[in-house]
Symmetry: C2
Subunit: 349 residues, 2 copies
DNA sequence: ACAGATTGCACAATCGATGCAGCATTGAGG
DNA sequence: CCTCAATGCTGCATCGATTGTGCAATCTGT
């Protein structure tokens, strides 16, 4: 920098190179051929620009071109394995396309969600992804008013394309695994498998509960009352419910399908207070994945959602210019107990 | 929206209200009092703007005011508990200040890091935070050229203020705990505590290793050769090293301090292959925290870094207008084995 | 009733990059 | 020698919001 305080602009480069600002703009961009700027001029301008440490002002460019080069994503929270993976993929795909990702978390508050969408619109993001939307219709309304293409992820909306995890298949497969792995004691009520955690008003949980019921019915033992305990995501309430259940049954049931890692933390809080032998009479499954959960005192069947695949599909929808409210499914992956190291080490090793 | 495709601008509002664009701008902003716009006019303009769903174009505003309202942060990766917590806090503090956070991950690549900083500069972010910088000097050079205030987090730089975790204290305390908790067998070499994982070229690891050595020395048993095994962060190499160590010693050492969760995954891979009783002769510590790691087959002493505190300090530096390369420390928290539920549940529950 | 102050607003320049519409200059062709 | 086309560039308006300046109209005091 020769001049102390401000960043160089095309006018500075124009003055230094003796060319006009429009020539500089063309020379530094892609359009210099079609605007018949000679190669020599382009070289000169580029070297001067490089020497001055010039870089374009995206606000000015965005204002003029009515595109910002930004792509927005709303997620419920950063501090969560699943959504953090989404962020990582979201960013990677954005970069592939030369876009800059802006990720904001809504804390699952509809009001916050709307505020964020509004903000991203004022920054003129070129596209927007909304993961785990709490009020998809409101979001679509705002985006449509701003003429902004958007895709829902993980939780579908009616006003735009959506990509969701195949919660039904994931939960059905997991249930079937638990059913076939469960130890049979003969005591009827203890031979059942219980579903714990999640909110039935939540789209993903509803699909999973539906799959759980169907899989049990298909196996010849339709779920009885109280076999689905959708007590929310908080560890504490999951711990309370599993304790109450064990108390009611006089011991652990043959199997437990825990819906979410946070609920699993609560279940774990109770299980870890039991003698290890008690656990051998039960099979545990968890919808969602954590590498450390694979090393507990007992085997845990887990489901890993394909965050990368979800985001890949979402970008594909943008690339293909789809705007109808289609619904695309991405399959989650079943993780057998204790197989973590086979996979993880081959990636990171 | 009365008009189909484009967003309303102040000129639209001006036309509809019969006022001039500058009056509209003032009325919608903070400056209408000092520009002596009557309250009645302000009301009229605001209601028309609301009816039109007007919201400002930040690119235009940013261009004019030379501020974007964006605040950037570079992190190594999203998909990591520590950095995800930082993102969460970063965003919360940004919102408090009416700023929009832009978080990008460098994958620990110096080149990528520079590219990101450059990009954030072209978007005219008002401030920038760089966590886990790989090339702090280059970053400072770029930011200074663009006249951009920035703060280093977790890994210090020489060209700007830095906020780092007190790695020395965290590791020293953890080492002391392991020392006092370790079972004494009498077999000299097996009574030692080993440090596994991390990269000594990395600032944080170097501080921790230094603390580990000092704490051992202070306890009267200075570390021998091979007692610090800084084999990187990959699970696989940590697994290999712990296996080799056990082989060399003829069993587990009295204690292991594992430097990072990823290395811990590897150590776990080996430990889980041993009979549970072997583990009772050893005390395990891990620098970094995971709630599930608190429920393994054996107790684990963990250190939780204060991501929220780091970010709070970083913002404080910005607020206080500090630009000298000061170094501020934030203390990490020691987590005793199996105490997770006492804490977590009171937050979420 | 008239100078001077105050109120309430409009005009125009500006931020930096872009792109359309020209405008000299050179060379070729008749 | 003159026309026409190609070449290589410049000038100017524009994107939407902000801000310094200016200027009527009304009000205040005497």
């Amino acid at each position: 920098m020769t001049r102390a305080s401000r960043k160089a602009t095309i006018y500075d480069i124009a003055r230094l190179s003796g060319a006009s600002a429009s020539t500089v703009s063309a020379a530094l961009g892609e359009s210099w051929r079609e605007r018949r700027i000679s190669e020599a001029t382009v070289e000169t301008i580029r070297s001067i620009a490089a020497a001055q440490g010039y870089s374009a002002n995206m606000q000015a460019r965005g204002l003029r071109k009515a595109r910002s080069g930004l792509v927005g994503m709303v997620i419920p929270l950063h501090d969560n394995r699943f959504f953090a993976s989404m962020s990582q993929s979201f960013e990677a795909f954005a970069r592939e396309r030369g876009l800059v990702p802006v990720i904001a978390s809504s804390m699952r508050e509809p009001q916050e969600e709307r505020r964020i969408v509004e903000t991203l619109i004022t920054y003129a993001v070129d596209y927007m992804f909304i993961a785990g939307a709490t009020d998809p219709d409101a979001v679509s309304a705002m985006c449509n008013a701003a003429n902004l293409r958007h895709v829902f992820v993980d939780l579908p909306g009616r006003g735009a394309p959506s990509v969701v995890s195949d919660n039904y298949k994931g939960a059905a497969d997991l249930t079937r695994r638990l059913l076939s792995d469960r130890p049979i004691t003969g005591a009827a009520c203890r031979d059942r498998i219980y579903f714990i955690g999640g909110d039935p008003a939540d789209y993903a949980s509803a699909r999973r509960i539906e799959a759980f019921r169907d899989a049990l019915t298909e196996a010849g033992s339709p779920p009885g009352p109280g076999q689905v305990i959708a007590c929310g995501y908080a560890p504490r309430s999951a711990m309370r419910e599993i304790a109450a259940l064990c108390n009611r049954l006089g011991g652990l049931p043959a199997g437990v399908l825990v819906n979410s890692l946070t609920a699993f933390e609560g279940v774990l809080g109770h299980l870890s207070s039991l003698p290890l032998d008690d656990l051998r009479g039960s099979v545990i499954g968890c919808y969602d994945y954590d590498p450390f959960a694979a090393y507990l005192q007992f085997p845990v069947h887990m489901v890993r959602q394909d965050a990368h695949g979800l985001i890949r599909e979402a970008y594909r929808i943008i690339d293909q210019n789809v705007t109808d409210p289609v619904l695309r499914m991405v399959e989650p992956e079943q993780i057998a107990p204790r197989t973590f190291y086979d996979r993880a080490f081959s990636d990171q090793g």
